[in-house]
Structure formats: C-alpha cells, structure tokens
Amino acid sequence: MRSSSPVRAFVALATFALALVVTLAFTRTASAYPWMIRHGYGACTTCHLDPSGAGVLTPYGRAQGDLLLRDHYTKNGKAGPEEASKTAGFLFGLLETPDWLLPGGSYRGMYLYSKPPSPAPAIARYVQMQADLKIGLQPGIFRAGASLGYAHGGALSASITSRDKDNLVSREHWIGVAIGDAVMIRTGRLALPFGVRTVEHNAFVRASTRTDLNDTQQYGLALAYSDTKSRGELMAIVGNFALHPDDYRERGYSALFEYFVDPHVGIGLSSLRTQALRDVTTRVAYARQAHGLFVRASPWEPLVLMAEGDWLLLSPDGAATASGYAGLLQADFEVRQGMHVMVTGETLRPAQAGADPSFGAWLSLTWFFAPHFDVRTDFIHSRVAAGGAHANVESVLLQLHAFL
C-alpha cells in the first residue's frame, strides 16, 4: 500500500472493491492499438503481457499510455510531460502494485444506430461490449493472464456460464513461461495470432477469419517470439472448450510473423487452418483456411497506415472448396496527441460459391480525453451483398471506453 494512512488505505480498498463489484455487475472486446507503431512500438511485449498484444498492460505500458496516448491539453504543439502521471497506475494510482502483479479492467459501452434499407426497421440500442476485470502475473520466468467479466448479451463463445444471456465470460486465461526476454511458451485460452490485432472486432478481416478479441479465442499451446526486428507466434489449436459438444470444436493452427523493416514499418504474414466435425451454423464437417499479408507503416508520426488482405478457403464436407477474400485499409491520423481521425475501407467476399463482395467505409473519431478514458464515434456506410443485389446500411456508433 502506497500510504501508511489507514484512511487512505481504506479509501483505496473501498474504491477497488466497488469498482470490482460494479464492473462485474454490468458488460465484449479488449484493447489493442496497433497504430502505436507511430512511436516505434511495433512489438507488443513492451506494453502488454500478451506477446501478441492486447490485454493487461505492463507498468511500462501504463506509463507510455499516459505519456503518448492521452490528450495533455498542451498549447501551440508543445510536448506533454516528461514523466507519467501517478494516475497512470492501476485504479488511477490509488493502489500501488508490485511489478509482477498486473491488475486491470475495462469497460466499453456503445450506443448503436443502424439503418438498413426499408422496410427493415432501424436499430437503435445500447450494447454493453465489455465489462471485464483482468489480471496478469509475471513473477520470475512465470507468466499468467486471465480475464473475468459479465456479458449481458453475446460473447457466448467466451462464456463460463450457460445462459442465453447474462453470462460470466472469460475471454482469456493462460499460463506460460518466459524463456529469456524474447520467447514465451504458454497454454490456455488465447486470442488467435493472426493479422492486425485491432479493437474493431466486427471488421471484415477479423470476423471472417474468426480472430477477434471479443470471443473467438481458442484453447491451445503457443510459442511467441519478439525482438526489435521481428515478432511472431505459432499456436496449436485444440478447440474452444466453452463450446460443446466436442464435434463443434476446431483443431488446427494459427500463426503470424511480422518483420520490422524499420521501427515504424512492419510487414507481416498470417496463416490459419482449422477443421471441425460440425460447423456451428451448418452443422456439417468442414475445414477452413485463411492466409494473408498485413502491413503497418508510419511514414510521418501523426499518420499510420494499416492494411491487411486475407485469402479465405472453406471446404465443407461433401462440397467443393470455395474461396473468398477479406481486406482492410485504415489510415489513422493523430490530429493532436490523444485525438485520432481514422478512415477505413474494407471488403469481404465470403468463401462461398457465388457469393458477391460486400464493402464498408468507416470514418472514426477517437479522443483519449482523460487518464484511463476515451470516447469514439464511428460513421459506417456498408454496401452489403444480399441475394444477388446490394443493400446500403448506414450505422453510427458512440462508444465510451474506460480502463482501470
């Protein structure tokens, strides 16, 4: 405890307890900002316990988040503070934890308005995306990470409880061993190493490859490598044990490798192949593959360009293999520190015979307006392939994200 004062200790503990209860009482996605490559942070291990990014922050990650991520409201382009604020710590610095203990928590709520073509009714609703508590451990060579949260709806593939809604969810839980500074081997429920690990879990590239941070994690054994010139992870997948019976579970592998041509330019390859005896939606046996390329580049510090292209293959039992593709192109422009304007274009042609491509265009504004807080607005125009024709769908998202 940082203070010897019993009153302050009590306030800190009471605040933590209240935060714990409130977070668990109310909840789909974790945080990862691949555009941090603008600061030369291509590798993820500098700031995250997870070697492929997202999840709990290291003390260094918290400090960089405070120094580089949020708006410091400086004028005339002046640089922000040289040292991270004490509020960068867990619970805004109220509870000081040893370096081997990495507590955290995230809440992400969103108001969604979506207007499909008439006569379908417009959708306007609040979506509780994430209300998770997280913990990371890194004593000596030992590593472990876990999350526990509440989901009002969705995130079934990460649920611990078995209700149609209002479930306890654990998106990740794993243990591992660090071998030196560059290598980690771990086992448990892990996010699949594939492509650019973005927070936009419904982006075509993430949804079509089932490699998002929401609830498509799987159990397996993974080996990760990370140094200043490259990073990579290979995961042997044994299935999602939150999904049963076992026929629906996928076996296979997922892997990525990214090489840093320069601290601000990374070029990567991803590959995934899984198979299951039954598909969740068609209930027939299948094998699926996704293989792709991705690039992250910051030619000028305020600007980061990210691109991902994936080739999709689906081989359902008794039918010919169908191929498709998914693509993402995103430009993140940091207007001033903490304030981002993002323009995204995406396309998807599902691995399905006769499928037509769909397209999406996003204009997003994100503002890291205070320590541990950011707000985001997305305006999305989608042109969705629908039965030989295309339908236009307009959506507006308003998000608030807070982390402990």
Partner: protein
C-alpha cells in the same frame, strides 16, 4: 500531492458513475433466436441450424436465401418479427409449400427431421451447439493438424536459445 489525490478520487468516482449510467440501458432486446422460433412454432423435437434459412449458415442482412428461407420470406416472414415468422410457417404448412418442388411439403419434411433444402438430414437434427463450461474433449481419429502444430510448437520451444533482448529505450512524445 493533495490536489493529485483529489483528482484521482474525482476521476475514480467519474469512472464508477459512468459505469453505472452506461449499464442502465443495457437491458436492450437481444437479437432474436430464430431457430428456437421455428422449432417452437412447428413443435420440432430439435432445433434446426441457421443454415435452414441462411445460405452457408452466414447470418445477417440479405442472407435468408436458401430455398426454404426464400419461401419463408415470400410468406411474410421478416427479420426481428417472431410473429411474422410463426405466421409464415403456419401459412406454409397450410398451403403445403414445397421449396424444392418435389411434392413433399417443407413443414412435413421438417417434422420428419428432413432438410427442406435437400441437405444432410443428420446435420439438421444434430445436437445443437451449447456454450459454457462442462464440455468434454473427445479424441478424433485422423485429426492431425492440431497435433502436428502442437509438436511443432514443442519442437521449436525445445531448441530455443535463451538470449537477452537489447535494452528498450524509452520514447517520449
């Protein structure tokens, strides 16, 4: 120091208040579970898969395009309207709709556990997927990709040379 503590307490209180406020409207209606609606309306002993109506099992706008799905839409079945789906199924049962035009009605086929789209009947009535803890892992003959990947991970890990990474230089904005 006192100001910092006050700021931290204020922000913490703001976080908690925001959590509480944002949680209030979270009792929004979830996306309807259409397979359960179909099973309930027709008194099926099983829950049909999404692929009954959605091509390739992919749900979402414009994907209700299987022969049965098209017939359901032609009879007035609409998204986010369970009543319209129940009414459409009743109408299809009454007029004996056969989406494949093979003389056997779609509803009769579903009640016999057959796929009105002409697909694999065992897939139609297979145990539906369930979520949460409590599953068991079964061995699968011939399923080698996961095993192979595991062996590769272990093999690589066994030969990893322990080395130190260069010291990280802290960046400033």
């Amino acid at each position: 120091m006192k100001a910092m503590r006050s700021l931290a307490l204020f922000v913490a209180a703001f976080v908690l208040a925001s959590f509480a406020l944002l949680a209030i409207p979270s009792r929004a209606r979830a996306t309807p579970n259409y397979p359960d609606v179909v099973a309930g309306a027709l008194g099926l002993s099983y829950t049909p898969p999404c692929a009954l109506c959605h091509v390739g099992g992919r749900t979402g706008l414009g994907t209700v395009n299987t022969p049965f799905g098209k017939s359901l839409r032609a009879h007035g079945g609409a998204a986010r309207d369970d009543g319209s789906i129940e009414a459409a199924l009743a109408a299809m049962e009454k007029d004996g709709t056969s989406s494949l035009h093979d003389g056997a009605s779609d509803v009769a086929k579903l009640k016999k556990g057959q796929d009105p789209n002409g697909g694999d009947a065992s897939a139609l009535s297979a145990e539906p997927p369930a979520y949460g803890c409590g599953g068991r892992i079964a061995a699968r003959p011939g399923d080698v990709s996961g095993v192979a990947a595991t062996l590769v991970v272990v093999a690589i890990a066994s030969f990893v040379r322990v080395r130190r990474r260069p010291r990280i230089v802290r960046h400033h904005a």
